[in-house]
């Protein structure tokens, strides 16, 4: 079996999904692609089922927030790993803050369960079809989604600490 190189991976992704795969980069040797949220689950499924690629291990997933990126403020980053070829692949999706709904990956990977709950807990991204989507690390009564950039770390009502004095 031939080895899976980054070029081959990008090529086969483009063959399968065409225009749905865009913004292809290779930071520090890791293939990173962006897709739309309509295509994320079919893409993960296809990568999982493919006889050659065999991306069957979801290493991690997490949310990310770019408040200045209008219309695409929130994102989810998936990192999948093919043990057969020892190649990793990072897939990103971005969507609007007002419509933060993503299909769940729990049907494909059991491990996505808690990762999605964590993403919901911190970013308020709802995963449609998730069996038990509630907060995992914070208390249930919490109303904010604390990892979003509009919730800075320090108490904003304090007046004795002014940012300019602290080099921030």
């Amino acid at each position: 079996m031939a080895d899976l190189t980054n070029e081959l991976l990008v090529q086969s992704l483009q063959e399968k999904f065409g225009d749905q795969v865009f913004d292809i980069q290779e930071p520090y040797g890791l293939v990173t692609v962006t897709t739309t949220r309509e295509h994320i689950i079919p893409m993960l499924q296809a990568l999982y089922d493919d006889e050659f690629l065999k991306f069957q291990f979801l290493t991690t997933m997490c949310g990310i927030h770019y408040p200045d990126n209008k219309g695409k403020e929130l994102g989810v980053v998936y990192l999948v790993h093919s043990f057969t070829h020892n190649v990793r692949l990072r897939i990103k999706i971005f969507f609007s803050e007002d419509d933060a709904v993503v299909p769940t990956a729990t049907n494909l990977y059991q491990t996505a369960n808690w990762m999605e709950r964590e993403t919901w807990d911190f970013y308020g991204i709802r995963f449609e079809g998730h069996p038990n989507l509630n907060r995992i690390l914070n208390v249930d009564e919490m109303e904010a989604f604390p990892m979003r950039k509009e919730f800075p770390l320090e108490d904003q009502t304090r007046e004795d600490k002014i940012n300019t004095f602290f080099g921030r």
């Binding site: 930071p27 520090y28 890791l30 990173t32 069957q56 291990f57 979801l58 290493t59 991690t60 997490c62 990310i64 927030h65 980053v77 990192l79 043990f83 020892n86 990793r88 990072r90 990977y109 059991q110 491990t111 369960n113 808690w114 990762m115 964590e118 911190f122 907060r135 995992i136 690390l137 914070n138 208390v139 604390p146 990892m147 800075p152 770390l153 080099g167």
Partner: protein
Amino acid sequence: MDLVKQTTEINTTDTYVQELTTLNLGPTHPATHGIFQNILQMNGERIVSGVPTIGYIHRAFEKIAERRPFYQITPLTDRMNYCSSPINNMGWWMTVEKLLGVTVPKRAEYIRVIVMELARIADHLVCNSILGVDTGAFSGFLYVFQEREKIYEIYEEICGARLTTNMGRIGGMERDLSPLAIEKIKKFLKEFPAVMTEFETMFNRNRIFVDRVEGVGPITAERALNYGFTGPNLRAAGVDYDVRVMNPYSSYQDFEFDIPVGTKGDTYDRFMVRNEEIWQSLRIIQQAIDNLPEGPYHADAPEFFLPPKQEVYRNMEALIYHFKIVMGEIDAPVGEVYHSVEGGNGELGFYLVSDGGRTPYRLHFRRPCFIYYQAYPEMVVGTQLSDAIVILSSMNVIAGELDA
């Protein structure tokens, strides 16, 4: 009176009605080794279902990291898997070094390997001996804890700290191994195998121990992979995935060692895999100490490597660099990095997104505990309460890493 009446009623009906007991295992229970709760539904002594609740020591490390310069994130990583904190530190520094493009000299890499393997030994020793305690054997625990103490003494000799060490720097180590440290490591390598052999003879074929752990909480390789298992828990199920071999970092490709794998993925296999890994770690340390290369112990990267403390006190330039680095005055390049190391529990990954500022834009920790602990309910259903305790300690769930 009522109770008696009820009991007779239940016994007279045709369909045998049983009430399930709800049992709160935790949040603080001596056998959970940490603060997390398991709400178990019990049918007599059998577990019908389990619901884990976590987050009791959640400290929002990912959020705090967004306001801290790279150096000041080190103490956060320390406090994740506190049984083997040097591995977390070094994993974090390697991530930053990857982002900055700093090449670490060979000697520093070897020293890091030595320290990381010592940490792995300490981690596995604690896990395995506590498994012994949970099955009723307290002496093994006391015995190997002395050895962990010796590992901590080596750390103390290298850097002055014991549990949450601060012995490395971005670009290498804080200082070189002293002759006394090397001597202590050699002494440890010489004396520890006898203790380990004794520990193994105490458990491996012990009838009571084996009866308690064999066939308890098995998980197939397929399920383990689906659950995202890594580290000893995955290897016990028969998958030889080890980050040190698959994606070598810090000169691991120079060393000869085997990956122990189990077959059934039960508690006994997890115990044995950890024991065998301790032997492999000893092999790696022996090779590293024998072939310790000459040369500098840190990279020539003054923008990122903290100058030695003695220099800081005497040399103005060193003081300026120290200040600039600690305050994070030097910006990192824009980019995103994923780097993973083989932690005590499995693949410990750092996903760092930098927007070119002094702090990470987003930092995500792939904590192995957090990922595999969700398989716990599936593994305990159908077993007894005493088995659930043993399964929990054999998985080596560490609350600091679980919650971060």
